[in-house]
């Protein structure tokens, strides 16, 4: 063991200067309670780190694995969604991280946040074009570009990460809602689910265009490619199936009944020798996988799928309503990112926490399939991905001076989170839904949120109007799943993201006051995962400029929106070009 360890260490140092100790956690952790054999008798060291996109709290959480301790939160913006490590998309959903950057897309602000893994700070906020309405991102194979879905405009985007410039194309006809995506590991294609079309679109990366649409089950959700890049696993949310697409034939290979409300899949990943893949040590090519794990929102379970047999081989109960699903960098643990904690934990306010549940995925472990940790978490995390902790160097002892950590000016961004609006709660009000002008001249918008939608669905105000937005959650319990601790949210994406971003717990009315000073068509969406049709819970906020006429995706102050007043200052933003299709 000791000899093997030294060998690993030597190879690690030869590959990257970032690595402190090369440890395959699966080899060195005797049990889930870690005691690392890294020369330090410190069970408080975590061999892996989980980066969690915090959703509605607009932050990224940094969590140790397998201790499940939260180390810190780093601010990003309004409502963060997918998380993606810089490096390459090879391997499983954790990618093959190079240890430099991690990216989060902010659905509320229509941006991508770039965090420097080594400094632990937010380094850039890349503004995406308007109108777009980003939902998810996927890293390219060469690590130079990023693909993104425009759920709120029916568009797709390819962004050059270095410059922040992007190419946007339409994916019609309306209604069209590209949601989750993944890129093949040969760099050639992107597979994208579209819940309004109930298809998976195949895009070529160069030129960036739609090649084909493949019909799948009802309202596809996660669209995830296995490390071998041969299969795409599509979670058919309302069909309780997994549609498996063959990437060679670009056609459906098999449809498996899996579970009620399937949402996302992750896979394990192995190197050429059959050991767990180690970023920075093993070649990123020729990686393989054995099992996929799919989250089942309605069934309160994760199912395990053999990728050789293409059948379900196990079902693990979770607590409760799993949304995203994550796997530790060493394949040992599966993290079920649960959206409800009904009956668990102590209340700490009007909003009940969601939770992360870690179960043991090691088949030979005596605790296989059992929950090892379950932890309440802040915000409403959308996805989390992990890397081996050795990829983040210890800079805490002045090493930055020698280690070339800072090579020039590095702007430290601290977004003015939730700025430019006055926000408060009032006792639950029952004014009928609609828009009316109050005595003080303010346009009062009364909106009701229910499983799964808003009434009214469309709101029109004029540019310059002072707006008082009242939003009330009228659910008795969450729609289909009946969880009583249902919290909803209401965020108007884009320039109004940080002004709206409302939490809607049951029993009160949230009120936000702001000025509608930027014209355009901006989608309203739910920021708390309230049920299987949470994504479809949408409405639209039209701000009409009387000089330009009614706003739509072609008419609006989109150049103005691009500047995201209040969130970013000039010079801190990478302005994307508005290109064809807008």
């Amino acid at each position: 063991m000791q000899g093997k360890y030294k060998l690993l260490l030597a190879s690690a140092l030869s590959v990257s200067c970032l690595m402190l100790s090369a440890a395959n956690a699966a080899d060195v952790i005797p049990g889930w309670q870690n005691a690392t054999s890294d020369g330090k008798d410190t069970p408080t060291h975590d061999p892996m780190i989980l980066y969690s996109s915090g959703g509605v709290d607009g932050k990224m959480a940094v969590i140790g694995l397998p201790s499940f301790r939260t180390y810190r939160h780093i601010d990003c913006g309004v409502d963060t969604h997918e998380i993606s490590f810089g490096g390459s998309n090879k391997g499983n959903k954790n990618g093959t991280p190079d240890g430099k950057y991690v990216y989060l897309n902010d659905k509320g602000a229509n941006t991508v946040c770039e965090f420097n893994l080594q400094t632990g700070y937010l380094e850039r906020v890349i503004a995406l074009p308007f109108p777009f309405g980003v939902h998810h991102i996927a890293m390219s194979t060469d690590g130079k570009s990023m693909f993104a879905t425009g759920e709120y405009s029916g568009k797709m985007l390819k962004m050059d990460i270095a410059s922040g410039k992007s190419e946007v194309i339409d994916w019609g006809p309306a209604p069209s809602a590209p949601d989750y995506l993944d890129a093949t590991r040969d760099g050639k294609n992107v597979y994208v689910g579209n819940y309004y079309h109930s298809t998976v679109g195949v895009f070529s990366t160069s030129p960036f265009k739609l090649v084909k649409e493949i019909p799948v089950g009802k309202n596809p959700h996660g669209t995830d490619i296995i490390p071998e890049s041969t299969l795409v696993l599509v979670s058919d949310k309302l069909s309780a199936t997994m549609t498996i697409i063959d990437t060679q034939k670009q056609a459906v290979k098999k449809v498996l009944p899996t579970c009620a409300g399937p949402l996302h899949s992750v896979m394990d990943v192995y190197n050429k020798d059959g050991g767990s893949y180690r970023a920075g040590i093993d070649s990123p090519d020729g990686l393989t996988s054995k099992y996929a794990y799919e989250s089942c929102f309605v069934a309160d379970a994760n199912v395990k799928i053999s990728l050789s047999k293409l059948e379900v081989v196990d079902e693990i109960p979770t607590h409760y309503r799993t949304g995203h699903i994550s796997i530790s960098a060493d394949n040992s643990y599966v993290m079920s990112l649960n959206k409800f904690s009904t009956g668990l934990f102590s209340p700490t306010g009007m909003i009940f926490p969601v939770n992360f549940e870690m179960w043991d995925a090691r088949e030979k472990s005596p605790t296989y399939g059992k929950t090892l940790r379950i932890q309440p978490v802040d915000g409403e995390p959308h996805n989390a991905k992990s890397l081996m902790a050795y990829l983040v160097k210890d800079w805490t002892k002045g090493e930055a001076e020698n280690g070339q950590l800072i090579k020039g000016r590095v702007d430290v961004l601290d977004p003015a989170h939730r700025a430019l609006s006055r926000r408060y709660f009032i006792p639950k009000e029952n004014t009928p839904p609609g828009v009316k002008v109050a005595a003080d001249g303010v346009k009062e918008i009364h909106m009701k949120a229910f499983s799964y939608g808003y009434i009214p669905r469309q709101v029109r105000v004029n540019k310059g109007d002072k707006v008082r937005l009242f939003a009330t959650n009228i659910d008795k319990a969450s729609g289909i799943t009946k969880n009583p601790d249902v919290t909803m949210g209401l965020t108007i994406y884009g320039p109004y993201g940080q002004r709206s971003n409302m939490d809607l717990p049951r029993g009160v009315t949230a009120v936000h006051e702001f000025t509608a000073d930027i014209a355009g068509e901006y989608e309203i969406f739910c920021t708390h995962f309230c049920g299987p049709l949470h994504l479809e819970m949408r409405a639209a906020f039209f701000v009409d400029d009387p000089k330009k006429g009614p706003s739509n995706l072609a008419v609006g102050d989109y150049a103005e929106a691009q500047k995201l007043p209040g969130l970013l200052e000039a010079g801190q933003i990478t302005v994307s070009e508005r290109v064809k299709g807008l």
Partner: protein, 315 residues
């Protein structure tokens, strides 16, 4: 036997049935056959009772009562099954997962409903797409015939259960859990004397364009961007298939509802909508007001793809 599994569910359905045949709101806001009539809705007391019943199911879930739906409530209308019961039913060996809905008979693995469904796929999904309906079609009504040409009521049921139940209720009586929060209250969609006079075009317009499209309340949101046109037609077919269907007294009644609806002569339907001028004009007006649809901002670069669950039913 499959029917036995639905026993407990029927108790829940029948309790809602007490609201059947009650008084409706007095104001004549609705139109049926061109005549102003009182809107068919349940009373405020009934709406409150329905909300309270749903709330109780949620609270039971938190307390760990009632096994689960998939978690908790004893019976789930979407799937027709409960997952597990905290307490074994009478006469069942301890340790088995016999549920309150009756799931877990001699044919079952006594593991979970999920497991049994997964282990007995109905098709490969490639040549036969019926696997996509295995979950939702197993335990709730299915329809062999359609009352709206070109539309599939069974597919419509699936979307109704997802989107419409919160207000219109599981049995279309207008008694969903959110009904008590809305004024005016949602329509009772089973009321034959009213629904028989509503044309398909009127139903399509109000679903696609919302209440405001027919100068009524915005409490009925527009679903035109959430549902494809064919989905809306399927939902209409489901509504037509449930006309005057009273709360079922037996499992057979529940699984095979008998509608009184007679297709209206000359009415537009899914098979001839493309040729109907009145229909096309109405759609243009509705769509021009919807997100992403305004003339001049239409999306390009794709086309409507049939397949998956968007396929037109073959007759």
């Amino acid at each position: 036997m499959k029917n036995a599994k639905l026993k407990i569910g029927l108790i829940a359905i029948t309790s809602l049935g007490m609201m059947w045949g009650s008084a409706f709101a007095a104001e004549k806001r609705c139109t049926a056959g061109g005549v102003k009539v009182e809107c068919p809705t349940i009373t405020e007391a009934e709406a409150k009772a329905a909300s309270a019943a749903f709330l109780k199911e949620g609270d039971n879930m938190e307390k760990g009562h009632g096994g689960s739906t998939y978690g908790i409530a004893p019976f789930d209308y979407l799937t027709g099954v409960g997952k597990r019961s905290a307490v074994a039913a009478e006469g069942v060996k301890a340790g088995t997962y016999k549920t309150e809905s009756g799931y877990g008979d001699q044919k079952a693995s006594l593991k979970t409903e999920l497991w049994d469904r997964v282990k007995a796929p109905k098709s490969d999904g490639v040549t036969d797409k019926s696997v996509y309906d295995q979950w939702s079609g197993n335990w709730s009504p299915t329809f062999g015939v359609t009352l709206v040409a070109g539309a599939n009521p069974t597919q419509g049921k699936n979307y109704y259960y997802s989107y419409c139940i919160a207000c219109h209720g599981w049995l279309l009586h207008g008694d969903g859990p959110s009904a008590s929060e809305l004024n005016p209250r949602p329509r009772t969609l089973t009321r034959g004397e009213y629904m028989q006079k509503k044309s398909n075009l009127e139903l399509f317009t109000v679903i696609k364009g919302g209440g405001e499209a027919v100068s009524l309340s915005s409490s009925m949101p527009n679903w035109g961007n959430v549902l494809q046109d064919q989905d809306i037609w399927n939902i209409i077919a489901f509504i037509r298939a449930m006309q005057d269907v009273a709360p079922p007294k037996s499992v057979d009644e529940y699984l095979h509802p008998k509608s009184t609806f007679k297709p209206i002569k000359g009415d537009v339907d899914a098979s001839n909508a493309a040729k109907s001028k009145a229909f096309q004009e109405a759609q243009e007006i509705i769509e021009s007001d919807m997100t992403g649809r305004a003339p001049g901002s239409e999306l390009v670069g794709g086309k409507l793809v049939e397949g998956g669950n968007r396929t037109l039913p073959t007759k």
